[in-house]
């Protein structure tokens, strides 16, 4: 195992572990206000201090991880679920009108500044986690479509695919049975990268008030709340940001590590 993979796995496991643990246990409840204990710096009783409502920051960060993971994961799911079939279909009919239409549509989505459109969608249809997921998910579709099309195209020229075609298998069946398993590694690696980008995007949308709404804790929202208090209690601004950085860093390292491990050829020529 490379250093990247180990560090990435540890950080990601930490993130997912904290989120899962928060379902059954947090040090303090996140929905009760204790004004007397507001804005306390980290201490033995509150490891990461308290926020402006006196809520325990560690508990909030743990529950916030849930929001980040949920939004980013479903957004990746949308990209995989719609993008991969589109990419596979385009590759199977390479050069045809379907291929052309799918790829031009992808170009168009790529041309849009994703953040602006995400803001437009959440602004028009109302802020909230669901609309944030849709807004982020839409931009994952072309990423996966392009990736799977490119990878599938080179596979279609291989002998074992020719054999499958000679055996009378249909294009959709070949795509599902032979192409998909062979591009799975690539999809996993890209999935981790998009997952980390999703966490960043969710944080950005929540920060401007268009992501998950109170009382659901989210890291971006915590940062927005912290903005006016940063001079009084820097920890309320530093901690949620660190949580984002460590999660994104962990997923990126995991993606890099997986790429090296799942595709040894890449590792060899990687510079």
């Amino acid at each position: 195992m490379t250093r990247n993979l180990i560090l990435g796995t540890l950080l990601t496991a930490f993130l997912v572990g904290a989120a899962l643990l928060s379902f059954v246990w947090t040090p303090y409840p996140t929905d009760t206000v204790a004004i007397a204990e507001r804005l306390q710096p980290p201490s033995a009783s509150h490891w990461l201090g308290t926020d402006h409502f006196g809520r325990d920051m560690l508990s909030l960060v743990m529950v916030g991880a849930r929001t980040s993971i949920a939004v980013a994961l479903v957004a990746v799911g949308i990209g995989l679920g719609l993008g991969v079939p589109l990419g596979l279909a385009a590759a199977a009919r390479s050069g045809g009108w379907l291929d052309e239409a799918i790829m031009r549509m992808n170009d168009l989505i790529f041309a849009f500044p994703s953040l602006v459109i995400a803001i437009l969608i959440t602004a028009i249809f109302g802020p909230g986690a669901t609309n944030a997921i849709i807004a982020i998910g839409i931009f994952n579709i072309p990423v996966f479509a392009r990736l799977s099309r490119g990878a599938a195209l080179s596979l279609w020229r291989r002998d074992f695919i020719l054999a499958a075609r000679t055996a009378g298998k249909s294009a959709p069946r070949i795509s599902a049975e032979h192409i998909l398993p062979n591009i799975a590694n690539l999809l996993i690696v890209q999935g981790t990268i998009q997952f980390s980008l999703g966490i960043l995007a969710e944080a950005g949308l929540s920060y401007v008030g268009l992501g998950a709404q109170p009382p659901i804790p989210s890291w971006g929202r915590m940062l927005a709340d912290a903005q006016t208090m940063v001079a009084l209690a820097p920890h309320v601004a530093i901690i949620p940001g660190l949580a984002i950085v460590l999660s994104v860093l962990g997923l990126n390292l995991l993606g890099d590590g997986l790429r090296d491990r799942l595709d040894p050829r890449l590792g060899a020529v990687r510079r």
Partner: protein, 314 residues
């Protein structure tokens, strides 16, 4: 080259047409009638109807779309529902903040990324390279708005070198530039990290090329070959990324403007959204998309001008 440019131009036109249609339709299905919103819940139905007619909201959808698009082409972005001012004028005021901010950030990002990428490529696999790569790994993981808050904490609240937000205008250019410095640094950092990585890998790719070996065989040192032949050729992929980054920076500016209370396009969009001033929302979003599509188009052209092989590739 002309055929290539014309083809790209056609794609540009189609992209713009579809983009405008999508933006218009998204705003069209938005819940909430601007006229009722402007007049409040106690407004009489006939007053609302009169205002709807005045704003042109009673026209059929396709007529409104055509009116909007043809207006934009002529530089008329419509009239803001809430401010009763021409949207074009409001946009023009705000662009004076957002555009310099994006360009400033682009400049900073390039100034940081080039030396970092070249340094890392020249010391590939050694401690210096590892340090730069580690820093870029961290750079791409940092949300720019959080980095902005940390900058405010350190440089505005603790050291008091900069103000924590606001914009004094361009009457005194230096003061204006100073107010945009922290926001530009915050915007530039993650982009610099990406650009440094691209610069490094492009350079490393090129250092394996035959012409570099030839240059070395002619007696150039590694460093001379890197500077005279490597960097110039690595600029081609780097140029594309810089073009792409402009759109990230313009869009990213929307969030950063919130952190620093800058009166730019981002603030305008958010204000318009909360006031259901949809004509402002759709015009500003269209303008941003237009800027991005045009920059992508120009990048493609520049790329093709530099690398003739591209013109013939599909």
């Amino acid at each position: 080259m002309l055929a290539y440019a014309l083809k790209r131009l056609l794609i540009l036109a189609i992209s713009l047409a579809i983009a405008s249609l999508v933006i218009f339709l998204v705003v069209e299905v938005a819940p909430g009638d601007p006229a009722s919103f402007m007049l409040g819940i106690n407004a009489r139905p006939d007053t609302v109807a009169a205002l709807r007619a005045e704003l042109g909201l009673d026209l059929p959808v396709h007529e409104r779309y055509l009116a909007w698009v043809s207006g934009m082409v002529q530089g008329d972005f419509g009239t803001s529902y809430t401010y009763r001012a021409p949207v074009a004028q409001m946009v023009a005021e705000r662009v004076q903040v957002s555009l310099p901010l994006a360009l400033y950030a682009l400049l900073l990002s390039t100034l940081i990324a080039f030396p970092a990428g070249i340094f890392a490529a020249a010391r590939r696999g050694r401690a210096g390279d590892m340090a730069v790569m580690g820093a870029t790994q961290l750079g791409v993981a940092v949300p720019n708005f959080w980095f902005a808050m940390l900058l405010v904490l350190l440089f505005a609240l603790k050291l008091r070198w900069f103000s924590a937000g606001g914009f004094p205008g361009w009457e005194e250019p230096l003061q204006g530039l100073k107010a945009l410095t922290l926001p530009a640094v915050a915007l530039a950092l993650p982009q610099a990290a990406i650009l440094a990585r691209v610069m490094r890998s492009a350079l490393i790719d090129i250092l394996h090329e035959d012409f570099i070996r030839t240059a070395r065989a002619k007696g150039l040192s590694r460093r001379q070959a890197l500077w005279r032949h490597g960097v110039r050729n690595a600029l081609i992929p780097v140029l594309t990324i810089i073009g792409l980054q402009f759109s990230f920076l313009l869009a990213g500016a929307i969030i950063i403007e919130q952190v620093f209370f800058l009166p730019g396009l981002g603030r305008l969009i958010f204000q318009a959204i909360t006031q259901r001033d949809l004509i402002v929302v759709e015009s500003v979003v269209m303008l941003l998309v237009f800027a991005v599509i045009v920059v992508t188009f120009l990048t493609d052209l520049a790329y093709a001008a530099v690398d003739p092989r591209l013109r013939h590739r599909r």
